[in-house]
């Protein structure tokens, strides 16, 4: 075992058994087509690469095989189910304690969205690539943001080209003008987004997300 992996292994073991501050929670709200899920995977992998231990929770989680609840994805981050939250699952509680960041892959039709948004430390809107989808995306974003307490929010547009940059610029301005928010700009590349997240001083929640067995 290399010193690096040994250090990491010790940290993981320690975080399994010690009562630690719960990790900040970041919601990634997909406002475009499902292929934006790939952008979420890339962001999670970039965060892991930057030294953050990431647990990604998603409602369509597919275990790797067997009955293992948690899957380790390419890029090194762990992935688990979103629908098992607060069900007293001890394994998920341990995985949360072993994480530096909890990521939630969300979409506008997600039944838990309205309950989850107030629990997040940061909500990042994943913008559509096509200008034609922008109005619908804004409608969904407003529904998620208005009248719900979100400490901070940001926007991310996956891809390259002028159309993507225009969508990003329009959302930054629109959220500021119409919803009186000051969204953070997470750029158009997963690595940039991860770098911005790492530099943020996100507040940790007072309570863990997974309560564990009483």
């Amino acid at each position: 075992m290399s010193p690096e992996s040994g250090g990491r292994g010790l940290r993981e073991i320690a975080s399994y058994f010690l009562t630690a501050t719960p990790p900040p929670r970041i919601g990634l709200l997909r406002l475009g087509s499902p292929d934006l899920d790939m952008a979420v995977m890339a962001i999670a992998a970039s965060l892991e690469h930057a030294g953050k231990r990431v647990l990604l929770l998603r409602s369509d989680h597919q275990p790797n095989g067997g009955d293992d609840l948690i899957a380790v994805r390419a890029g090194g981050f762990r992935e688990g189910p979103l629908d098992n939250c607060q069900t007293g699952n001890e394994r998920l509680g341990r995985e949360e304690r072993a994480s530096d960041l909890l990521l939630f892959l969300l979409h506008p039709e997600c039944p838990a969205l309205s309950r989850l948004v107030p629990l997040l430390s940061l909500l990042i809107l994943l913008l559509p690539r096509e200008p034609a989808e922008v109005l619908g995306a804004y409608r969904s974003a407003k529904r998620a943001l208005v009248a719900r307490r979100v400490p901070s929010c940001g926007v991310f547009a996956a891809g390259e080209g002028e159309a993507v940059a225009t969508v990003l610029k329009r959302f930054l301005l629109g959220l500021r003008v119409f919803l009186d928010l000051h969204p953070l700009n997470f750029g158009t590349a997963a690595a940039t987004c991860a770098r911005e997240i790492v530099t943020l001083q996100l507040e940790s929640p007072a309570e863990p997300y997974f309560r564990g067995n009483p």
């Binding site: 200008p131 922008v134 109005l135 804004y138 407003k142 208005v146 225009t166 329009r170 629109g174």
Partner: protein
């Protein structure tokens, strides 16, 4: 003190008060000087920069306003360089008049640019004007907001025009 009848305040007087900051249009800021050879007056709200025209009858000022708008679109970069606060994604016209043609408001959705209309209201007596107010035209009916999550027409315009 009384509300003066329409037309009691002359258009040059209305313009003068606007430029000197002695009267204000709700939600719109006016640049206090005329720009370019045409002497265009510029105003702006959160998403649109407007050319401003004042007249007795809307029909008297509409053509000039459209020519001002064409000038603004040509010289927009220069205007933004001098007045960065006017940098906005849209350009339109803001017209202040005492008399509007019947049914004119119904044509507004057909315009390819933002158009805002106001009527000046003078408050004072026949000798002294105490203040000047601006009423949106057509008079706005206060909509009962049933759902704050629904998007407004302004938001729809902003996110669907490119």
């Amino acid at each position: 003190m009384e509300i003066l009848k329409a037309g009691s305040v002359s258009p040059p007087n209305v313009f003068e008060l606007l430029l000197r900051g002695k009267a204000s249009i709700p939600g719109v800021e006016i640049i206090g000087e005329r720009l370019g050879g045409r002497g265009v007056v510029i105003g702006f709200d959160p998403i649109t920069v407007y050319v401003v025209r004042v007249g007795r009858m809307l029909s008297e000022i509409l053509l000039d306003a459209l020519q001002d708008l064409a000038w603004l679109k040509e010289e927009g970069t220069l205007v933004q360089a001098i007045f960065p606060q006017t940098t906005r994604p849209f350009a339109g016209v803001l017209l202040i008049a005492d008399v509007f043609p019947p049914e004119f408001a119904s044509l507004l959705p057909l315009f390819s640019f933002p158009c805002r209309l106001f009527r000046p209201i003078g408050v004072g007596d026949q000798h002294v004007l105490s203040c000047l107010l601006f009423e949106p035209y057509p008079p706005q009916i206060v909509e009962e907001k049933t759902n704050p999550e629904e998007i407004t027409k302004e938001e729809e315009r902003f996110f669907s025009s490119w």
